[in-house]
Amino acid sequence: MSEYIIKNGRVFDPVQGIKGDKKDIFVRDDKIVDSVGSGAKIIDARDKTVMAGAIEVHAHVAGPKVNAGRWYRPEDKHFDSHKTAGITRIEGGKSIPTVFKTGYEYARMGFTFAMEAAMPPLYARHVHEEIHDTPIIDEAALPVFGNNWFILEYLKNQEIENTAAYIAWILNQTKGYGVKVVNPGGTEAWAWGLNCLSIHDPVPYFDITPAEIITGLMAANEYLGLPHSMHLHQNNLGNPGNYTTTLESLKLAEGVKAKNNFGREQVLHSTHLQFHSYKGTNWGDFESGAKEVMDYVNRQKNLTIDTGNVTLDETTTMTADGPFEHHLHGLNHLKWFNVDVELETAAGVVPFIYDPNNAVFASQWAVGLEIALYANDPMRCFITTDHPNAGPFTRYPRVYSWLMSKKVRDERLNTFKKADKVISATTLANSTARSRSMSWQP
């Protein structure tokens, strides 16, 4: 039996409405209890925040494409490799930290867990080797299913049970945690250099559409009653006008019910929604679609989302959305890494500089904040940077301060070179401080 007391800290617990009260927390054998014996170890938390460990729901922290991003960007570590005193290992990497830095930096910010958002089954062992070497925090990984040949075949024939059985086998073989879907059908099309930009584009050869893949995988996920819902990176990421694709994809969840006995209600998690909430027809008349998308999400209780906040840094984009990375490389001409994985998926990596002086990038910054600010139910909205796609996770403190303080947010907004453009393309300038009454109750 191990017991300890976390003494004198300021305790926060949104679920119980505890907001920074000075309290002592008693722990016995990894559980919070009412009291402990006199021999308990005392941890002095004076002037410190005591809260539940934060959870990263979607980040790219371990695996083949993350590591490609690491080693093919030596310049990302240049003059940024260091070691702190004590028993730590050398840390390096600004946008794609090494496993050591990943563990330490999350821990320093109060995180205890991170979900690797895309694991190609063929490379699962690599993902786990990195998880093994990542200090302090726990990690799990979501295998990708949205372009898997077996899944496409089963779903074409509407065999939900076989789909579920195959998912169960893959989860067991790869020690995966849930069902990730990236650009359904589009990444398989990419194996021939093509893409599926709408959810009705047929997937070459397989005779199925992204809409059918999404619907089928949602059903299979609920057939199995997995801890997490299907986790979706929608088609048509990052393009002006894509909010209609987003709404169409989200509507596929209407009427779908979660099947489990532990209280999960959502059946679809829509990830890095910022990248999927654009209006307009090109980057010239680009506008935020955050309001339209979030109005829908607020009404539809079986959805959860994460934001994908742009932090305006030089970073490294990486996703299993192979065709998108190729498209991005065509825009910025920076070094392009791609790997197509037989039968399963693909991945691309491209360095990216979100220059705050560029109206588009500054607007993306605003859209990400809008997504979170429009969310009525914070329990269904997770803050992410889709690390490292919209920015490195080490920028969370900044993102939080932009969200928590209208003053900080407006200061940033007004110092953009193209502030007028950003203000006219988005509604962020009219946003109120995050003080409006929100139900913190789940």
Binding site: Y72, R73, P74, E75, D76, H78, H333, L334, K335
Partner: protein
């Protein structure tokens, strides 16, 4: 301007990493404080005082500081690296990374330098009164931002990979260069007074290369378009103007494609 003089009193056995020998590191320090700055040979940490006898105090700022180094510096790396202002003269050959990531000021090496010198230089004046090794004024590994500003002049010859990924500034080699001059260049100006071995301007996107001597084999992606008379680095001459590398992508400005240019003296 205050002058600090360093005389080498001990030649390092293996090599010495001298990232603390530049005007910025010295600024605001007295001679004895400078002697206490770190110098590194693998995991062995010593001080500049172990290797140099140091006289004179530095100025308040880098701009008010001049450093003169005498003695054998052939095994010393990073001399003058990252300096932003002031002046530095080394009366010896130097090892790798001399004057790399330099942002301003004046750096003069009276001797040869090894590879990776003037790497990603962004500003200032860097003169090498000797020969230079490979990767002069190039980018650090993986970076697409090589030399971006300032003037880098080599009185002697330079090695291969000179000005790889150069994006700005001016680099002059008065002697010859080996293979791969201005590879992946996207801006700036290279002037070669002597001859080039081969592969000049491979994958050139933008920027200008002037060659007074000969090029052993031209890249196939270069096409002659013009004959021009130009004043280049104080010499007037007639050049054949080429555009290229036609195998590479090129940006468009106002609907017109912008090519890299190679001027070869006739």
């Amino acid at each position: 301007m205050n002058t600090v003089t360093l005389n080498v009193k001990k030649v390092p056995e293996l090599f010495l990493e001298c990232e603390n020998v530049n005007t910025d590191a010295f600024a605001g320090k007295k001679a004895d404080q400078i002697a206490n700055l770190g110098a590194f040979q693998g995991k062995e940490i010593s001080t500049l005082g172990d290797y140099f006898s140091i006289s004179g105090d530095a100025g308040e700022t880098a701009a008010e500081t001049k450093i003169i180094i005498n003695g054998d510096c052939t095994k010393m790396k990073y001399l003058g690296a990252k300096m932003t202002a002031g002046e530095m003269v080394v009366n010896s050959a130097c090892d790798m990374y001399t004057g790399s990531w330099m942002k301003g000021g004046k750096l003069t090496i009276n001797g040869d330098v090894h590879s990776f010198c003037g790497l990603a230089m962004a500003g200032g004046e860097f003169t090498i009164n000797g020969n230079a090794g490979n990767y002069l004024g190039a980018a650090y590994r993986g970076d697409w931002r090589g030399m971006s500003g300032g003037v880098l002049r080599v009185k002697g010859n330079a090695g291969s990979d000179v000005a790889t990924f150069m994006i700005g500034g001016e680099l002059i080699v008065e002697g010859d260069v080996d293979i791969h001059l201005g590879t992946h260049m996207e801006g700036g100006k290279i002037i070669l007074k002597g001859n080039a071995n081969r592969r000049v301007g491979g994958q050139l996107v933008k920027g200008e290369i002037y060659v007074f001597g000969t090029i052993n084999v031209m890249m196939p992606g270069f096409k002659p378009v013009n004959t021009v008379e130009l004043d280049v680095d104080g010499t007037r001459a007639t050049f054949t103007e080429y555009i290229g590398d036609l195998g590479e992508r090129h940006p468009k400005r106002k609907g017109e494609t912008v090519y890299g240019k190679l001027f070869l003296k006739q």
